[in-house]
């Protein structure tokens, strides 16, 4: 166990000192400060816009972090041969996978938590600038719930990164496949709904149906973790919903890590 954490810590330290991370945080902070200015422009429901802008900035920063810093941390290892110094230690391949994953997660958690704190401050500032009436539907609970769901999504997304990294050494391919999985994950629910509607009207090809059916089990349903719109209107989701989502996130991540470690065990490090 200690060994896994030692590797996580190593990965985390390497990531946190990466200039790219700093750049992402700076951009995110600038965007957050900009919300102070932009919120006022949007008519009546300022609370809605404020929450939208803040949560979207945090989500976007997380995506940049996952796609560009975390993938780098994984792919660089084999590309630049830094993996030798790690695997020459008494770490099994599985422990390596777990250690790296926890390191990536730690990085995402710390960075996004930092942004969350700033974001909360900014929301407090903007709220104090306008009268209460424009924030009728605002709710801190919803805001934090949306943030929590977003983190659950990133737990899965980073496991996807690990999975593809175990299969391919090219950081570009890992990036491509992870982005593709992300986009599919976000849109699969809508496609399902669309197909159900169409199916009522016309005869869709059976193959299409079958493909979509399988796809919804294979691809992670990321849109389920996106409650930003609801949160911005002060609508929250009940505990059962949250529990189901946590369960789904956990299981899917475990499965991905399991397959990743299986594949990685067979890999030869030349």
């Amino acid at each position: 166990m200690n060994r896994i954490f030692a590797l996580s810590w190593l990965t985390f330290k390497e990531g946190i000192r990466d200039r790219a991370l700093m750049g992402i945080c700076i951009i995110a902070l600038v965007m957050l400060f900009a919300t102070i200015v932009f919120t006022g422009v949007f008519g009546y429901d300022l609370g809605k816009v404020l929450v939208d802008l803040n949560l979207s900035t945090i989500a976007f920063a997380g995506l940049l972090l996952t796609f560009f810093v975390n993938i780098n941390l994984m792919a660089k290892d084999i590309d630049k041969r830094t993996i030798y110094c790690v695997l020459s230690k008494p770490l099994s391949r599985t422990e390596y996978i777990l250690g790296k994953y926890l390191g990536l997660i730690l990085l995402v958690c710390i960075a996004l938590f930092f942004l969350l704190v700033f974001s909360s401050g900014i929301i407090a500032i903007v709220k104090s600038m306008y009268s209460e009436i424009f924030f009728k539907n605002f709710s801190w609970y919803c805001f934090f719930q949306a943030y929590f769901y977003q983190m659950l999504m990133f737990f899965i997304l980073n496991a996807v990164v690990i999975f593809f990294s175990s299969v391919s050494t090219s950081s570009f391919l890992v990036l491509l496949f992870t982005i593709a999985t992300y986009i599919t994950g976000q849109t699969i629910e809508e496609v399902m709904v669309f197909f159900k509607k169409e199916a009522l009207g016309q005869n869709t090809s059976a193959v299409n149906h079958w493909v979509i059916d399988i796809a919804q089990y294979i691809f992670p349903n990321f849109s389920a973790f996106d409650i930003k719109t609801l949160a911005s209107h002060g609508k929250f989701l009940p505990l059962e919903h949250t529990t189901a989502l946590v369960g789904y996130s956990l299981i899917y991540t475990i499965l991905l890590l399991f397959f990743a470690s299986m594949i990685f065990n067979k890999r030869e490090i030349t």
């Binding site: 041969r81 030798y84 110094c85 695997l87 099994s92 030349t270």
Partner: protein, 257 residues
């Protein structure tokens, strides 16, 4: 730690030409505890492949490898092993100290022992002044020395050096030579690959010459000294380039696959 290779074979399929490349062929080798064992050979002889199999990076095609009776695939085998890769490359943004802490922690060192060991090695390898600096700022020689520290911080019994002297200035080389001899005193087993025949001569108890995946010749110290005395070049110089001559002869006369 006793190391044993028995009828080990390893081939790769070159993805470019789709041809089978035999990296290691029918290798039999036994290394005793407390030995300094050198491996020399031309580029592409299979030395690095051999070491990588020892570390569990790649699996042998057939045959068996054992380290103190254990297989290299088991992670436990590596608790007491230290490895310095050829052309080491370490994480840009970490310092030598970070790296060594990681090495020590994963090898299961006791918390109280870690810092003293780090301090001792950094001083020994002349890196005390740069301990907190990021590895990216290190010169080649410094990286090499940092790698040695990384490999030795947990006081391993089996040490594997792949080209330990590369990139070191004469001062650095002296440090390493002294270090190796010191380790031998402590009873450690050292395997190292090098292109620098002088070092091999100076340090090794036994040496092996590899070529095209095969172990061509094994010599021990006595044989080496004996031969040196008898060897005279055309110019009448005594002994100096004997190992080089053996090397050239052995490699050239190899059986073609």
């Amino acid at each position: 730690m006793k190391v044993n290779f028995s009828k080990v074979n390893k081939s790769f399929i070159s993805s470019f030409t789709r041809k089978k490349v035999h990296a290691v062929i029918d290798l039999d080798l036994s290394i005793q505890t407390g030995e300094i064992f050198g491996i020399i050979g031309p580029n592409g002889a299979g030395k690095s492949t051999l070491l990588k199999m020892l570390l569990g990076f790649i699996r042998q095609g057939s045959g068996s490898i054992s380290i103190e009776g254990k297989s290299p695939i088991e992670p436990e085998t590596r608790i007491n092993m230290g490895y310095l890769p050829e052309n080491p490359y370490y994480y840009d943004h970490l310092s030598a100290e970070d790296l060594m802490k990681f090495s020590a922690k994963t090898a299961g060192m006791k918390k109280e022992d870690i810092q003293p060991s780090i301090n001792h090695l950094l001083e020994l390898m002349n890196l005390e002044h740069a301990r907190k600096r990021h590895l990216r700022t290190y010169s080649k020689g410094m990286t090499q020395r940092a790698g040695i520290c990384f490999a030795l911080v947990h006081d391993p019994d089996l040490i594997i050096f792949d080209e330990p002297m590369s990139g070191l200035d004469p001062l650095g080389r002296k440090l390493v030579v002294d270090l190796v001899l010191d380790l031998k005193q402590k009873g450690k087993t050292i395997i190292f690959c090098s292109h620098i025949l002088d070092d091999i001569e100076r340090l090794c108890d036994r040496m092996a010459i590899m070529d095209k995946g095969r172990l061509k010749k094994t010599l021990n110290r006595e044989q080496l000294l004996e031969g040196k005395n008898k060897f005279v070049t055309e110019d009448g110089e005594k002994g100096n380039n004997w190992l080089e001559q053996i090397f050239i002869d052995t490699v050239d006369s190899g059986v073609r696959e």
